[in-house]
Symmetry: D2
Subunit: 152 residues, 4 copies
Amino acid sequence: MDAAELQAFLTREFPQVAEDFIVEAVGEECVIRLRVADRHLRPGGTVSGPTMFALADVGIYLAILHRLGPVALAVTTNCSMDFMRKPEAGRDLIAHVRLLKLGRVLAVGDVLIYSEGGTAPVARASMTYSIPPREKPDPAKSDPAKPEAARA
Amino acid sequence: MDAAELQAFLTREFPQVAEDFIVEAVGEECVIRLRVADRHLRPGGTVSGPTMFALADVGIYLAILHRLGPVALAVTTNCSMDFMRKPEAGRDLIAHVRLLKLGRVLAVGDVLIYSEGGTAPVARASMTYSIPPREKPDPAKSDPAKPEAARA
Amino acid sequence: MDAAELQAFLTREFPQVAEDFIVEAVGEECVIRLRVADRHLRPGGTVSGPTMFALADVGIYLAILHRLGPVALAVTTNCSMDFMRKPEAGRDLIAHVRLLKLGRVLAVGDVLIYSEGGTAPVARASMTYSIPPREKPDPAKSDPAKPEAARA
Amino acid sequence: MDAAELQAFLTREFPQVAEDFIVEAVGEECVIRLRVADRHLRPGGTVSGPTMFALADVGIYLAILHRLGPVALAVTTNCSMDFMRKPEAGRDLIAHVRLLKLGRVLAVGDVLIYSEGGTAPVARASMTYSIPPREKPDPAKSDPAKPEAARA
């Protein structure tokens, strides 16, 4: 899936949060922007931990979809994060995502999160996703894991 | 701080999320309830990862405040989580929190999260908090880190 | 597998390290002792990080074997550890291990490590193991994953 | 400290393990080689988990020393690792280490470990170190935290 397909997938599958995230680039490294809004902030103007978790989680998920096509049922099984600096007030967050492993049953991704324009990462995350068994392709049958839009 | 003081602290300092959390018990183990609402759900009715992160994060923070009194500036520096089972639809989540370390500069807490009434944990988390240097008490001067209500 | 079977399994499969570990108890919680020797120490007499990692790793592995029988090919896929206090010099380390999940493909365990006689944990670990697919039992064929001694 | 100083520091402070590790390069990214020997192996010829932990731990420690000079008392407080592929038999392991944060009290480093010549990482680690308070420099007094060799 390319950037536009990923953005459409988010809008379709995760309408509650889709407008928070913009797929800026896909490839060896995927780049995802979080449009920081008031609802993401804690007192003092800093972006909340759960918001940074969500950015890392969505970022790795999209990097997996970029490689595999839509796998709507992939689930996060493990996460580790380091919160290293306070995000700068009034700036979007930019996540740089790499997939370190994309195996048959597990995928591992790595994320660095920056305040837009910053050079030192505000957070680091790695997450493991469990990938559901993929059925052998059967051209005669519609594949429920691959919605129409994604095959366009 | 006791359960009522912690609940009041949440309402005062984190008004955006305070109504999500109920302090059910404090002590060696602190018990925090997340009142699951639609905004916490993902498609399929499961509670989102960021919501479970938020519950673990708030739970350990409250366990620290229970022991130290209000330390409004303690910040999460590290988190690891395992997501082990799908939360049951339509049930609150209950976090059982233990502090494993409460040092001068770092605190480490451990959380098991259950669907209410369930016996197998849906998630496990451990988090490290950095505790700001505490000033030596100076009775002549108001301490901004200790709001009035907390000293009551 | 009971404690004696686990100890025999260690001796047979991991002869390089088996004498380091003693299976003290199995059950809901498994208890494994590390017999601390000079080779485990760092300058100052503290037990090295890799040694504590090894204790946690072996402990969770044994807790899985206790439940599943010998699964020689289970492999660690993820680990998180917090090192909270300096182990006391000249004391063995005691690991208390719980399995939080034992699924078809993944197992998650949790460990608290104490200096013998101590009441505050020196370290905490959680680890994920990937469990190899188990063949359907075939009484006509010898199963290489289940060595003879283990079935005794 | 440059590569030769780091190697000398290892030999002096950690004589039990110093010969396992070779400082190949220092800079933005530090590169550390683990000379794999029989004592690092598990049945089947794979490198043990504790050995990979040790490589990541030493690698980040050396990256901190490279920047700060000898801080013999920095201690690991947290570690997360993903074990993604089986190391290739008979090959050294090469760790690529970056410091993501070097604060006043905490440092965070990130490591990718490869089998020599391999292009896909066998493991990923991130670790937090607690840095002891540094005394204000006092030119009149010898600083016990900075051994002679390190100032050469």
